[in-house]
Symmetry: C2
């Protein structure tokens, strides 16, 4: 049994039960879902009950990474070895069927089970550099790097992607045969997380926008052409 | 102590600890975050540990509603009175500071604690109608309504918004004074979940696009003007 097999869940608790045909267990699907995400939601339990906390994440190899202040309750609980479930969801569209009952959503989601491990002091800076590269490729050489005090105040954790499941819905509505001729608009209202125009903070003399900002602006302009023209 | 006070958490576990100044506890903030969401993530625990499951949600008054198949594990656990944490997160932008350490994200999030209650059979259809109205205003009169069998197969649950906290970050980077003159681009790369062009499923004769589809298409065209023109 291996997570590389798209049809075989790596454990009992990662077996997709609802709409089981939407469950996928291969690395390529999982990596693509994680790599498209800026953040994840982490479920964990402590003395106050269960919590569900959003936080930034990134992937390196077969691990998902998170980071935060040493003082973070979630990080302290995770560091102590608590079982967690890390979930990423991309909403891709509203699926409008001909019957109310068959309405649905298109999405790509992944749930990762296990425990986090602490990234050691000697690997911490490199892990955070990888996060910066994910956020803004090349920026690591531009912003001031973390100093020893800042690095010491930051905890970096990672969780193996070995025990994970993806669940994906794509395509149009699945209507009942007898509803197909009903005179109602049916289809998908797709959506996506899209860039909006960059907002520069107090422009510094002689600083030109780096490639990742120009590219963001270019992508954003595609959404605002009529505003500029009109 | 009341949830209507923006500065007072309704309970100990809803008190925002990290970046406490970003915590808000008023109804207006909470309602706006919930109403902007198509889905939430729900943390709950069962014999297999903690889980974090995405699902569609909507608000009516002081309650957040979810629905699903009677067979859903999450719904069965929630129906049995399990403590849950329901979290909604909108990512609004990447905040690029002059130092690596001060990078951040802009977001609006809300966490709701408590237990779900079952919406009774007599109120179920109305609750699902409200969900449809949220998805596509007016569509309730167009799609075939749920029949008794479909309604019987569907569970609708709701959770009070009384024990909740919102957390919001807006604005540009918060750099250290000594970094402000560093020659590096600083600011925000904003983003938003945006409509893409509707995809109709097997157009039916004589069916014109309803207003919510036309409006979706209009919003989406704003993102694709250069493709159409070019």
């Amino acid at each position: 049994m291996t997570a590389a097999d798209a049809n075989t869940p790596p454990s009992s608790r990662t077996r997709v039960r609802r709409e089981a045909h939407r469950g996928l267990y291969d690395k390529a699907t999982l990596h693509a879902i994680v790599d498209a995400a800026w953040l994840c939601h982490i479920a964990f339990a402590d003395d106050h009950g269960v919590h569900c906390i959003p936080t930034a994440c990134w992937r390196e190899g077969e691990y998902l990474y998170i980071h935060g202040s040493n003082g973070s309750r979630m990080l302290k609980v995770a560091e102590a070895g608590a079982q967690v479930c890390v979930t990423i969801t991309h909403l891709d569209g509203l699926v409008l069927a001909r019957s109310a009952f068959n309405h649905s959503m298109n999405y790509r989601s992944a749930a990762i089970y296990g425990t986090f491990e602490v990234v050691s002091a000697e690997h911490k800076a490199a892990a955070l550099d990888a996060f910066m590269e994910r956020l803004a490729p090349g920026r690591g050489g531009e912003a001031r790097p973390g100093n020893s005090k800042e690095l010491a105040a930051t905890t970096v954790l990672r969780i193996s992607l070995a025990e994970a499941a993806s669940k994906v819905r794509t395509g149009g509505p699945n209507d009942d045969e007898e509803d197909l001729d009903r005179a109602v608009w049916a289809g998908v209202l797709p959506m996506a997380l899209r860039p909006l125009p960059p907002e520069q903070d107090r422009p510094a003399t002689g600083v030109v926008a780096p490639d990742y900002v120009s590219e963001w602006a270019h992508q954003a302009r595609r959404c605002h052409v009529d505003e500029v023209a009109g």
